[in-house]
Symmetry: C3
Subunit: 163 residues, 3 copies
């Protein structure tokens, strides 16, 4: 019986380990930031920071118009996805955000890095849009990658979003 | 042998249970409704209702422009994401939807609630846009929440979308 | 001990198999292509082809404005999601893509099919927009389906995106 118990225990441990790995692997948020709209950058950072605060990992893959937000001085320059619809200007929304004590994009991004969030810049976008590394805020960027990097992050993530 | 069988059975049951819990936990659709465009609200509700009809759970987290659609009288007031492109007006699309026997947004939303779909309203958006609870259709809303509520729903979902 | 080993082995095999099935089932990318914007079609195809090249499965569900891109002669006719913002015209972006040696949409789509990617056309969109089968590039389409088809693909996918 002792031997059998041991095997049972080993089996259980093996299961726990394999499950544990699986769980951990999937306990990540990966977001493609394709849009450069301010309201969508807000959503991406708020979700990512929320997940990080809850003990998950988070990766943001900046591509197309999203990558423009990582250019030096580019973070708060984006448009709103529905600027005219609400009759609110960009300035007005940023002001209301402040009044509602929502952190600025700069603060959200700083928090994201402090919480060990990972930022990947899309190399193809850099080539297509003629963006050089020195145009980007290199201190924020953990990796310059292509689609393979993205798929690798995403296939093991519990939450995948395209924003 | 009898004892061993019993242990094997317990092991099996334990596995089934742990798998069962895992499966059930993940058999959910969670959608962030960030856009207020009519065609995107359609997509969100059609997907959610399809999933509910197939025995899955569904949660819709209304935020930013999406939340405007839950204001009293706001559901069908949204624009189309590509209004000018097709040369079709909002009215035309709604009319074609009707001709093609696609349910109205109101009907889809009523079905969603009948099938036990869950609606979460984003508190931060309410603050930023100055929307009070009495401005919203409270009968539709199951919960007022923040990013933590969303991440909790999403990390256990098989399908996560940002619309 | 021999019998017990055998049972242990069976148990292990059973686990491997059940895990294997689960893994395989989830090792798929399913993307709803709702947008007809060229830059978003690019993103969808690049992600899908990357996943296919890494041994995953990929399904694209074309709906609303996305389905217009599958009309005969419609693939490169779409607008850009932020045409005016960058001051770049559609033609300019396509030209830069070429200069950066990014494959054309036609090439990406051909690769997608060669790699056994699956394309589903949304029947509801066809009805609403008055698109007939003969208007579409039938050689590309594997299936005409509704929301049930989509949910079935998506619930077993590791990566689900709405583009």
């Amino acid at each position: 019986m002792a031997d059998q118990d041991k095997e049972m225990t080993d089996d259980y441990v093996w299961l726990q380990e394999s499950e544990g790995i699986g769980m951990e692997e999937r306990d990540k948020v990966t977001i493609i930031v394709h849009s450069g709209d301010l309201d969508k950058i807000y959503s991406a950072l708020i979700i990512a920071n929320g997940a990080l605060a809850m003990g998950m990992e988070a990766s943001l893959f900046f591509t197309f118009w999203g990558l423009l937000r990582l250019k030096k001085g580019g973070l708060e320059k984006g448009p709103l996805s529905k600027m005219n619809m609400l009759g609110l200007g960009r300035w007005m929304v940023l002001r209301r955000m402040k009044a509602a004590k929502v952190a600025s994009l700069e603060k959200l991004l700083a928090d994201f890095k402090d919480l060990d969030g990972k930022i990947i810049a899309c190399e193809m976008t850099m080539e297509v849009m003629g963006i050089r590394k020195e145009d980007l805020r290199a201190d924020l960027i953990d990796e310059y990658g292509a689609v393979g990097t993205y798929v690798q992050e995403a296939r093991g993530s519990a939450i995948n979003l395209f924003i």
